[in-house]
Each structure stands twice: as structure tokens, then as C-alpha cells.
Symmetry: C2
Subunit: 335 residues, 2 copies
């Protein structure tokens, strides 16, 4: 079934069929109905390729993320897909892994698919030096690039993120105000967002005049999903330097710290306070439940898609949207 078949059966030209298909108002209601009936009868659906050729777009957005099975990224992808779908856009998903070169290839690949925009989910798409971000600049020359949980100032690049610096700083302050000054800071990524969190933590420690806090800043290399390994890692740290508080850049890491504490009979929150980050479902899976920073993921994804839609329809949109994180207090802290 093509537009020609329909036009013939309806006794009109293909132009008219195309018009009713695209909802043009310049067509007499009676002819519209006639055409619509034929379309209905033969269950005709326009060929997507041909349509894309004419329109230079197929209403699809490329979503790139390192690993869609990561708790945080999976949720982000879900919200994004839902919101895009609701606005008539399809999503092409690419899981790129954490290697930068591979990411570049994926961007080229997705570009060749003629998507209308690209969403980069997670701050690991932004590198520290300019060279690393070249591929984003190039892509932005063609279509709008949306960053979730990262920021990059460049034409046609739009950023939506949480103020991780302030949020982490606030979390650390809460713990310090409770009198806990020997705090283990656990992180596992030097991404844009990871750096912000770390800086926020440091700022709070400085502000409260804590000496030598840097000895308790540790980076865990490896997949944080392997909670058991994280626990071992924390165990080795605890043997060297005692601590009464743990702040983690990811909930997974915090869970590892809890696990280690429980293995050693350390009481939570009496002997040890723990704060995680992301406010993921893991916070409710442990006992006691994990205090964690909520980074307003759903608000972020909503804002991002709205911004994208605006950009695509030619409106002037904010280059950067920042949300505030919020400490959600649960059982692993006394404050």
C-alpha cells in the first residue's frame, strides 16, 4: 500500500492524500473523510523511510548512555523515553560503555541515522580537557546536543543538571554539624559530576576546619554494583584509619560501607553514620535504610525534554538548567 494506491482508490491525487496525512487544513472535510476511510479500510501506514527523506527527520532522538543497566542511568533512560514518547518522538538507545573513543564512534553512528537530537545521559560524556570534548562540538554543528547531569558551554549544547557541589557540601555539613568529623569519602568516578561532588565535600570540610580529612578520601576502582568487593575495600581502609562517618558519591558504595560495618558488628547509626547519593531504590533495601541525596532526576529529565522540544521548534531556550539536590534523611544517620 502506497500513497498512490490510496489516491487512486479515493479518486484524488497523491498530494491530497499527503495533505490529509499531515493534517493540512487546506482540504475539504468531505474529501478528507473520503481519503481517511480508504486509509482506514486498507490499514495504510506511510513508509517511514520515504517520509524521512522528504522531511529530513523522523522524529527520533538518540539517547546515549554508558550502561543502561546502571541504576541511575536506567531510571534516567526510562524517564526520558517516556517523556519523548509522550511528545511524539521515538528513542534510539545506545549503550556506549565508558571508553571515550567508543563514545565518539557511537555519536557518529547515531548522527548518520539522522536523529533530530542527541541526549547524552550521565556526566561521563564530558572530559576534562578541551580535546576530549571535540566530538560534542562537531555533533552540535548538526543537531542539538542535550546533556543530562553534566554541563558544557557551547552553541547548540544544552545542559540539565543537579548542583552536586552544593548538595554534597550540604550533606557533609549535616554530618559535621552532628559532631562527626572523621568522615570517609568514597567515590568511583572522576566524571564532571564526580568532581563536583568531591569539591563540595572538600569545601564543607575546609569550612568546618577539619584537618587531614584528605587521608580519608578514597576512590574505588571497579564496578560499584559488586557490593561485596566494595565492602572489602572499605574493610581495608578501616584497618588503617578509623572513621565514624561515610559519605559516598553513589548509593552502591554506601551500601558496601554498610555491609562492611555489619560484618564487623559496627552499629549503624550509633557507631557509624552513612550517607549515599542518588536516592535510588537501594536506599530502602538495606537495614537501616540509607540516608541519601536526591538529585531530582525526574525533574531533570522533564526539563531536558521540554528544552529539547523547544529548541527543535526554534524557540530560544535556556542553555543550562540547574536543580538543587536534597538530603533525604533515613535510618543510617542520627541527624
Amino acid at each position: 500500500m502506497t500513497i498512490y494506491d490510496i489516491s487512486k482508490k479515493a479518486g484524488v491525487s497523491i498530494a491530497t492524500v499527503s495533505r490529509v496525512l499531515n493534517g493540512s487544513d487546506k482540504v475539504r472535510p468531505s474529501t478528507r473523510k473520503k481519503v481517511l476511510d480508504i486509509i482506514e479500510k486498507y490499514e495504510y501506514t506511510p513508509n517511514a523511510f520515504a517520509r524521512g527523506m522528504g522531511l529530513h527527520s523522523l522524529k527520533t532522538i538518540g539517547i546515549l548512555c554508558a550502561d543502561s543497566s546502571d541504576l541511575f542511568l536506567a531510571k534516567a533512560v526510562y524517564f526520558l523515553e517516556q517523556e519523548l514518547q509522550a511528545n511524539g518522538y521515538e528513542s534510539i538507545l545506545c549503550c556506549t560503555g565508558y571508553n571515550l573513543d567508543i563514545k565518539k564512534n557511537y555519536v557518529d553512528l547515531i548522527l548518520s541515522k539522522k536523529v533530530d537530537g542527541i541526549i547524552l545521559v550521565g556526566s561521563n560524556f564530558i572530559g576534562t580537557d578541551e580535546e576530549e570534548n571535540q566530538y560534542i562540538k562537531e555533533a552540535s554543528a548538526q543537531i542539538p546536543i542535550m546533556l543530562l547531569n553534566a554541563a558544557f558551554d557551547y552553541p547548540n549544547v544544552y545542559s540539565t543538571l543537579c548542583d552536586d557541589y552544593a548538595a554534597m557540601s550540604e550533606a557533609a555539613s549535616a554530618m559535621l554539624n552532628a559532631g562527626i568529623r572523621d568522615i570517609l569519602y568514597l567515590y568511583n568516578s572522576d566524571s564532571y559530576s564526580g568532581q563536583k561532588k568531591l569539591k563540595g565535600f572538600k569545601a564543607a570540610m575546609e569550612r568546618h576546619g577539619v584537618d587531614g580529612y584528605e587521608k580519608l578520601i578514597y576512590c574505588y576502582d571497579g564496578p560499584p554494583q559488586r557490593v561485596r568487593d566494595v565492602a572489602k575495600f572499605v574493610e581495608s581502609i578501616a584497618r588503617e584509619t578509623p572513621f565514624r562517618g561515610v559519605i559516598a558519591a553513589e548509593d552502591e558504595l554506601a551500601i558496601g560501607a554498610i555491609k562492611n560495618a555489619q560484618n564487623h558488628g559496627v552499629r549503624i547509626p550509633e557507631d557509624l553514620s552513612v550517607i549515599g547519593y542518588n536516592n535510588s531504590m537501594l536506599t530502602c533495601c538495606c537495614t537501616p535504610e540509607l540516608t541519601s541525596v536526591d538529585n531530582r532526576l525526574e525533574s531533570q529529565t522533564h526539563q531536558l525534554v521540554q528544552t529539547l522540544l523547544g529548541v527543535l521548534s526554534g524557540e530560544e531556550m535556556p542553555k543550562q538548567s540547574v536543580f538543587s539536590g536534597k538530603l533525604i534523611k533515613r535510618g543510617t544517620t542520627l541527624f
Copy 2:
């Protein structure tokens, strides 16, 4: 940049350019190099729409799942996307939710995008009565339909799944053999797979001659991610009927049971044994760690994609691939 521009600059015809683009061997190495150089120089990439029109395919697979942020589904989507990507296919992701009508619409939508195949992730795409599965039959008339974690016997529909019946039956037997006969069975879905699990559980109970076990079979309505609510649900059950074992159809539900036990000072595994299902990352997030059934998700996704690739290249492939589950023993059980 079009194929015409390239052909002109290379001093050949568009047909030749097309040939080198598609790796035809009927082109002289020297001309091939000449064309390739021009392509390289101008960073030409073929237009995906035009190509799709000629080839009637764009090497894309539609992946439908109810909720890509669900732990199990997210992992499945991740594995699928990786494997497809490695074989030159893109993935269009659709999160359909759990409503059947909406699912039908998504299938139509994805069909109109001219994907080469559709993967239905999760057993909730298969209904109990024939009427409900009509949309699958219709779709399979156009392109191959792949089912992950479900089975449906119909031409051009291929199923890959875990033998949930046997796996669950085995898990229950292990618990029964350990002398625990008062077992709470928790589930939350009547999907194809959910039914298999339940039947497997019942079969084991029957086989071991347990009376009145059905009083302890409970369905939790609601999102299982809300662990706290699951715990409350279990609490209300425990008030009515005591039990010394819990078998859950999802890890999330098992975590809820653990949570409730811990709230009430019930020792695990001494007073209560718990078995989950899916062997998700949650199993390592609680203390003690959760014994769970591994359903070989990665093997399943691998097999599914290989089958799909075979079908697409015209080979005869198995209509159904069944994997065996395996009980992974951890700290929530003594056996």
C-alpha cells in the same frame, strides 16, 4: 554531500560509489581506493533514509519492554543492545508500561518505523487468552518477533526463556528438604513467567506432601521496588500465619520479607530462610546476602540475538530456546 558529489569528485559514476559503499567485490582496487579517499576526505556518510528506502531495512531492531528501569528488564535491555550493536544493528527502545492496549499501539508504531525485527522483553507481553495475543500474530506476519522470558508458539515468533517451572520447583524442594514446610510464597505478576514459577512451587509442595500450603501464597499488588510497602505487606501476613521460609518470585519481594524480619528481630537464616528470584544485584545489597535463582539472563539474551540474526539471514532457527535456572546459595538460607 551526496553520492553524486562523491562520484563527480572521484570521476566515477554513482553506481561505483554505491558499490564500494556496500562492499561489492566487483570493483577494481584502484578505483575503490580513489573513491574511498574522496569519501574520507569529505567525511561523507550515506543518508540513512534514502538507504533504507532502497534496502527496505535500516538494520534496526525494536526493543519493547514494560519498564526499562526495572532491575531485570534494564539488564536485559542492556545485554540486548550490546549484542545487537556488536552485530551492526541499532536498537529502538520503547517502554510500554504494563497495559496491554498501550502495548498494542507501540507495536504498531514500531512496525511503521520499518524495523527489521521486534524483541518483546519480559513475559508480560503474552496474555492468557488467544484474543490478547492477536497483536503478536499480526506483527509476526511482517517481521520476526522475538520473545524474551516468554513462549508463544506461532510462525515467525521465536521464544527464549528460562525453565522457571523447574527452577522454582527446585528452589522449593531445597527448602523442603531442609525441613522447612511452612513457606510463604510471594509473587506480584500473573505473567507467563509468573504462572510458571507459581506452578513450579505448587508442584514441589504437592510432591513433598505439604498440606494447606496454599494459605501462604500471596500476591503483592503494587510496584515491588517499594520495598518498604512490601515489608508491611509481609508483616500483615505474618500476623495471621507464621512461616519459617519465604520464596519470592522477584528479588525485590524477598528483600521486603528480609526487611520485615529484621524489623521484628527475626534471625535470618536461623529463624527464617529466604529465597529470591533473578539473582539481581539486590542479592548482595542486604545482610545476610540473598539466596536467589539465577535465570541465565545473559545467556538468554545472547541466544535470542543469535537466533534473530539467523532468522534475518534466512536460516532455519529453533523456535524455542530454554535455559535451566540455578539456585545460587547465599546467606539467607542454611542449606
